[in-house]
Symmetry: C2
Subunit: 288 residues, 2 copies
């Protein structure tokens, strides 16, 4: 993966990004994956799992804000939130920014990702790790949703790797069936669905799968600088169709009440609502 | 630039994209720049100028549609259009799709870009080169705007390289002053302003410059897969503030009348209107 002091992302065999490395900070083979954290010249510190860029200090705000604020503000009164994956702590931190949230459970399978993130990427999780509303579990998200109580959560945020390797089981029928069961009637699940310009199968296959268990399946977009290849899609599966139809004024009101408004660098009420308008090259991969 | 059979983009010194090369098709040092065209495994054919990716067959639709359809449909009755740069012919082709357009003048300084594009990227320009409404000039866009008649154009589309090398003079006071002079009272100019996550100076400096000569300066965004680094911005300078306030229904009506509706892969009326909603990390670089 390394040539001289460049790191080449190995996500695609024939195209990708590369970073000039200032200093490698950690290289760990965990029980689940190969973890590398390095300091770059261009994007601050960067975490790589199995050769795929997961997060950089410089642009993490785009992905985290869109993965968190959109479902929580579309719901409007999310009190109990389940996060699966997201071991860097960035989603947990954004979830806990919402005043509506009373409890945030996070299940990350790889304790090494949490440990290394706390050590080398401390600003990404910030104080969230110590928030009394946070319940951080080192364990399998699949098992967690299997054994969780019916209607225990208002929102589930799946921040997984792509559906290969350790992340693959988070894209199965059983997983989505359990998500539907443990969500409240206004509950919804969001998850990262890759960059459809390069990985259209990921959006198409997982959307079809979600549609088996949720009446309202869609996706919304975010332009994440280091998830290269144009828009990435965030998958959306809800029990209640009204959640994608909340207008800009209402989203703004909720964001203000939640303490989010004015505290974002990518998300705005207009971008929230507009993100569901998909370019035709993306929309064609969703179920009819 | 080449390591084995990979081509590394050299736009940024410490981060960028790389392509696995199937076959190099052309490598020419023109009077103005170093031109490379190669066939990739991932994106079809790719054109590179001075080490910077300009266009790929696979994703050219994003940039061309947004650079063309947004200004022309915001105007609503653009008959005379000036294109500066865009030697690959892709903007010319999109401009000529509009039934309102009676004349499209294109001034590209580098005849070698046109010649090589016709030879190796024939689908990008398509039949546009032979359209009787097209007037293709191999010459300096700066000179063209200096000598053009007052109020001769409804829209000017500047598809230049970044403001270094041959493209630099397209970002000067004199150039924008002449653009304002040769535009009709409802006229506007759009130009590519780089990827602000990486090149914020480009958006900030050129926006401030445009604001000297146009009362309404803004920008809109597009997520172009191979202009890596999140949203790219397209600069907007208009004499008439109403052009950015046209609603989705009216844009749809105009697109239908123009023959554009349903013939796009990225642009839609909703995306057109939504593209002016900038993330805060981008909006802060625009003039007050």
């Amino acid at each position: 993966m390394t040539t001289d002091n460049w790191i080449n992302e190995s996500l695609y065999p024939d195209w990708g990004q590369r970073f000039l490395v200032k200093r490698e900070l950690a290289r760990v083979q965990s029980e689940f994956q190969d973890i590398v954290i390095f300091d770059s010249f261009s994007h601050g510190r960067v975490m790589v799992l199995d050769g795929v860029i997961q997060i950089t200090e410089a642009d993490e705000f785009v992905y985290q804000e869109m993965l968190t604020h959109v479902p929580l503000l579309a719901h409007g009164a999310a009190a109990n939130v389940l996060i699966i994956g997201a071991g860097d702590g960035g989603v947990l931190r954004r979830v806990l920014q919402h005043r509506t949230v009373k409890r945030a459970v996070m299940a990350e399978i790889d304790g090494e990702v949490i440990r290394l993130s706390k050590q080398f990427l401390p600003t990404i999780g910030g104080d969230a790790w110590n928030d009394p509303r946070a319940e951080v579990i080192v364990g399998d998200g699949i098992d967690y949703v299997k054994h969780a109580t019916d209607a225990a959560f208002d929102a589930i945020i799946v921040d997984s790797t792509d559906p290969i390797g350790v992340g693959e089981v988070l894209f199965t029928d059983e997983f989505y069936a359990n998500c539907a069961r443990i969500l409240t009637p206004r509950g919804l699940v969001v998850n990262q669905c890759g960059v459809p310009f390069m990985q259209a199968d990921e959006l198409r296959d997982t959307s079809a799968r979600r549609a088996k268990f949720f009446p309202h399946v869609s996706a919304y977009v975010a332009a994440v600088p280091t998830y290269v290849g144009g828009f990435m899609t965030l998958g959306w599966a809800a029990k209640d169709a009204s959640l994608t139809r909340v207008d800009v004024a209402e989203i703004r009101k909720r964001a203000n009440a939640s303490g989010i408004l004015g505290d974002t660098k990518y998300w705005t009420p207009e971008i929230h609502v507009g993100a569901f308008n998909l370019p035709p090259y993306i929309a064609r991969h969703l179920p009819e």
